[in-house]
């Protein structure tokens, strides 16, 4: 907090200095509206900063001055000489207080009532004189205290840049010297000296880096407090989330975006997010959401402030604009929706019904815009009336130190901002499954489905024929809050902090690269832009699917129908299938399909699986099959072609009768049947795969009859035949045991059903419990009973 106050002091002093001449000019001509505006902005900024720094005295002063100035601006009050004096009195007092603070002493909780009262007094000369005569009560001797202040000087940026370049050159020179030293054998004295020099240079490089760079965390960290205080004042509940606080930014930029950011947050909480009562009426959770994120994109830093409040009421804005005569009626009619929204940036305009201490005077947004544009940035609004407002600030990236991951692809090294990287895995990891679905590679990582691209493919590089690393590395990338993908590279090399500079326009134009950097090895390296890569891979369609506006609400998960595969049936109609049920799509050779047991079946992975949707196996060519899986069982669904992956609407109209078609979904205005995978499974899946079946021990003679005749019957009845008596530890497994042959002994410890088969039709009475080996009905009956028993346990 202390450094924030130091900055507030420095900034206010600076503005005061700059304002001094304006003040004089305004004094001479109180009707000069341009001067009035700049003074107004000054007090507004002071008010903003000190509310946030908890400096109530400043806040009272500036709020009072702002009130009066706003009245003058609106034409409600005349800018009389008396009023000018009173405002100047306040500005002087602010200046004096700043000096006190600068000396490091606590501010006395003095009263400024005299000055504030002066603002509201009617202009009688003597009162004005008293107001002016009132000495600054408790702020004496400012000049003497100035000595104690933290000393700082202002240095031109060019000089710092020059220094930075010098230090970078030094680092490279050191590296070269280091190489020379390694080659020649030198005494430890030289090496020690060199090490000392090295560490000096490293220190210096850090220091010089810090003179320019700062983490954006610096402006993010005080935000929770600000939000909390605002909420307490306004009786609102807001859940603040920040992300990307490790993004580093030019110090200059940090200073320039602090105020705009504060303004936007104030506006969001004051005007955007409704009171808990109003929110419940609108069907939103009582606690509003405010998310602030920073990320680097291309050669810009994007700071996004999104709330789920009521958004901007453009009609109201337009009405205000008309009333305030910012635009004429005819001009307004001609405005596009976008231009209507942009009216929020017009000076002196606000949609707030009441002016509060927090915001609502309409100074915010025009100041915000002018501040951002002054540093070459831009501001964009995305308004969803009733649902929220998203403000995106774009700030140019002049030079930054970015924590990077260096990766290798196609024999070349690239840097990737670490902030965008979520996870790094090898592609042989059990958690990773990569396969093609609908002509697109997908990576399933712990159940999450991500589009998958290889960096070499994106950059048009050849894959290294014999890479050093045996396995490729998969990096999951958060390109933006809605867009994630998996990127495969040859290897991940290192984590490094790299000084990144913008590249030449011809290189940056591609969008693939965010800048260039020079690591210690002296070989230039390109910094990849995760979002640019995603655009190159045309992953935007994936984004759109996820970027459903409803997904901004926390409960959107249930409302959303999930992803679905859109495909064409062999008969020609389009149908949908939940993507979760589709494991992969495969083109299979017709030779692998055969008619068997009344079904078309596919021989795959040593198993025969039923295929749905084919009456006859095709004679030649290929069949496109969807592999459906419920986790254990697999069936195949024949399709003509796979078309797309779409987002299912939240509401799927159920079909009137259970069957293949489970429901009807509306995509755009097309009605498309949605397949019920459960029905497909229940229709096709006969016996469970062998490992799932209860075991059946075939004990006794291990002869061809047992193996070739009895075992298939047991299998058909839904058992997994095991030959021989159960060994220790396996006993629990066998649900049924069949003892074959008259001479076979009955092993001890048999669980479940025991069936004894006898060789001959005729048997003695002692064999009542035995079944003749060809008494199919009796044997099957016992086996089925046994299965029921097995399921019951």
């Amino acid at each position: 907090m202390d450094d924030l106050i130091q900055e507030f002091i420095a900034e206010t002093r600076e503005t005061l200095d700059a304002l001094a001449s304006e003040l004089v000019l305004w004094e001479q001509d109180p009707h000069d509206s341009a001067r009035l505006d700049s003074i107004f902005r000054f007090v507004h900024t002071v008010k903003g900063s000190c509310g946030f720094l908890n400096l109530p005295r400043f806040e009272r002063l500036s709020h009072a001055a702002e009130d009066v100035l706003a009245q003058v601006r609106d034409g409600k009050r005349e800018a009389s000489a008396h009023l000018v004096d009173a405002v100047l009195g306040i500005i002087d007092r602010i200046g004096e207080l700043i000096v006190v603070m600068e000396s490091g002493e606590a501010l006395a909780d003095g009263s400024d009532a005299d000055l504030i009262a002066a603002l509201h007094r009617s202009p009688t000369p003597e009162q004005a004189a008293t107001a002016q005569a009132a000495p600054p009560a408790n702020d004496t001797g400012p000049a003497a205290r100035r000595q104690a202040a933290i000393r700082s000087i202002r240095v031109p940026l060019v000089l710092i840049d020059h220094l930075m370049n010098g230090v970078s050159d030094m680092v490279l020179a050191r590296n070269e010297v280091a190489r020379c030293l390694r080659d020649d054998q030198n005494g430890p004295v030289l090496e020690n000296a060199f090490d000392r020099l090295s560490s000096c240079i490293a220190d210096m490089r850090d220091a010089i880096g810090q003179t320019r760079m700062q983490r954006i965390d610096r402006i993010f960290s005080p935000l929770p407090r600000l939000v909390r205080d605002l909420c307490a004042d306004l009786g609102k509940q807001v859940d603040l989330r920040t992300s990307g606080s490790s993004v580093e930014l030019d110090r200059e930029m940090i200073e320039m975006i602090r105020d705009p950011l504060t303004h936007i947050i104030r506006n969001s909480i004051d005007h955007g997010i409704e009171t808990p009562a109003a929110r419940s009426l609108a069907g939103k959770p009582a606690t509003g959401r405010l998310s602030i994120s920073a990320r680097q994109s291309g050669n810009q830093i994007l700071i996004e402030i999104a709330d789920d409040g009521r958004g901007i009421d453009t009609d109201k804005l337009v009405a205000r604009a008309q009333a305030a005569k910012v635009r004429t009626a005819t001009e307004i009619v001609a405005l596009s929706e976008r231009a209507r929204l942009e009216l929020i940036f017009a000076p002196g305009l606000s949609t707030a019904d009441h002016v509060t201490a927090i915001s609502g005077r309409g100074v915010g947004m025009d100041v915000v815009r002018s501040n951002i544009e002054r540093i070459g940035g831009s501001i964009d609004l995305e308004n969803n009336p009733g649902r929220g407002l998203r403000v995106v600030l774009r700030v140019p990236l002049t030079l930054t130190i970015i924590p990077c991951l260096t990766v290798r692809a196609g024999g070349q090294d690239f840097a990737m901002p670490r902030s965008a990287i979520r996870e790094i895995l090898f592609d042989n990891n059990d958690q990773v499954r990569i396969q093609q679905v609908g002509g697109r590679d997908l990576a399933y990582i712990r159940g999450e489905c991500l589009p998958y691209v290889a960096l070499e493919t994106l950059l048009g590089l050849e894959r290294t024929a014999n890479p050093v690393a045996r396995h490729r590395t998969v990096i999951t990338v958060n390109a933006s809050s809605e867009l994630r993908y998996a990127l495969a590279v040859e290897a991940v090399i290192d984590h490094e902090e790299l000084v990144v500079r913008p590249g030449a326009p011809v290189i940056m134009a591609d969008g693939l690269y965010a800048g260039t950097t020079l690591p210690d090895n002296g070989r230039p390296m390109l910094l990849l832009d995760p979002l640019g890569l995603a655009n190159r891979a045309q992953l935007n369609e994936f984004t759109r699917a996820v970027d459903d506006p409803s997904s901004e609400h926390p409960d959107a998960g249930e409302a959303d129908g999930g992803s679905a595969l859109l495909f064409r049936e062999a008969a020609g109609m389009l149908r949908l299938m939940t993507l979760a049920a589709v494991e992969r799509v495969e083109d299979v050779d017709a030779a692998r399909l055969a008619m068997a047991g009344g079904q078309v079946r596919l021989s795959i992975d040593g198993e025969s699986r039923p295929v749905f949707g084919l009456d006859q196996p095709p004679q030649t060519g290929h069949a496109k099959l969807l592999h459906l899986s419920d986790g254990k069982r697999h069936v195949l669904y024949a399709v003509d072609d796979v078309i797309d992956i779409v987002r299912l609407p939240a509401r799927v109209e159920p079909a009137s009768e259970p069957g293949l078609v489970g429901g009807i979904a509306l995509l755009g205005d097309q009605q498309i049947e949605v397949i019920d995978p459960h029905w497909v499974f229940s229709y096709l899946v006969g016996p469970a795969p062998s490992s799932e079946r209860p075991a059946c021990c075939l004990i006794g003679t291990d002869d061809p009859w047992t193996r070739n005749i009895l075992a298939p019957l047991v299998l058909a009845a839904g058992y997994r035949p095991i030959f021989g008596a159960p060994r220790d530890g396996q006993q629990d497994e066998a649900a049924v045991s069949i003892i074959v042959g008259d001479g076979a002994e009955t092993p001890m410890l048999l669980r479940g059903e025991v069936i004894r088969l006898r060789d001959n039709l005729s048997g003695g009475p002692q064999d009542a419990d035995t079944i003749y080996r060809y008494d199919r009905a009796a044997l099957l009956g016992r086996l089925i009973n046994g299965r029921k028993g097995a399921q019951g346990t």
Binding site: V171, G410, A504, Y513, G522
Partner: protein, 144 residues
């Protein structure tokens, strides 16, 4: 008024470039390719602590990307705040001339007429005066 010009060789032909646009001439030891960038970008190379973009001048004329020979000279220019190295076959000399350049004849082949700005007579020889602004970002002129 006398102007200084740098004579360099591109695709076997001598050309001149105004010396005031030239920052320095360096020898490029190695460059790092920029995948999927425009074909006239030969790569990136480091000059002290700066990263420069290496422009393949020959590509504009012959359409063939150059194979960098270690130590090949590049003319460093600063255009729009960015530094570029124009990769040439050789740098020959700096000459003075007070003769005004004459406009390009119309029958030059496309590549040469794109990179050329004018013709210049120096010491009884005629040289093509090349335009570094075009070479570092051809899209700009096309847009204009």
């Amino acid at each position: 008024m006398k102007e200084l010009y740098l004579i360099a060789v591109i695709a076997g032909e001598k050309v001149v470039i105004p010396a005031e646009q030239v920052d320095s001439v360096v020898n490029v030891r190695e460059s790092v390719p920029v995948p999927s960038a425009a074909p006239f970008i030969a790569g990136l190379f480091a000059l002290r602590s700066r990263v420069l973009t290496l422009i393949d001048c020959q590509f504009f004329v012959s359409g063939e990307p150059v194979d960098l020979v270690p130590g090949q000279p590049a003319i460093v220019v600063n255009i729009g705040g960015c530094h570029y190295g124009l990769l040439v076959d050789a740098v020959i000399d700096v000459v003075q001339s007070n003769i005004a350049p004459v406009p390009l004849p119309s029958q030059l082949p496309a590549g040469w007429c794109d990179i050329g700005r004018a013709l210049l007579d120096i010491d009884a020889a005629t040289y093509l005066l090349i335009d570094p602004d075009y070479m570092v970002n051809p899209a700009l002129r096309r847009a204009a």
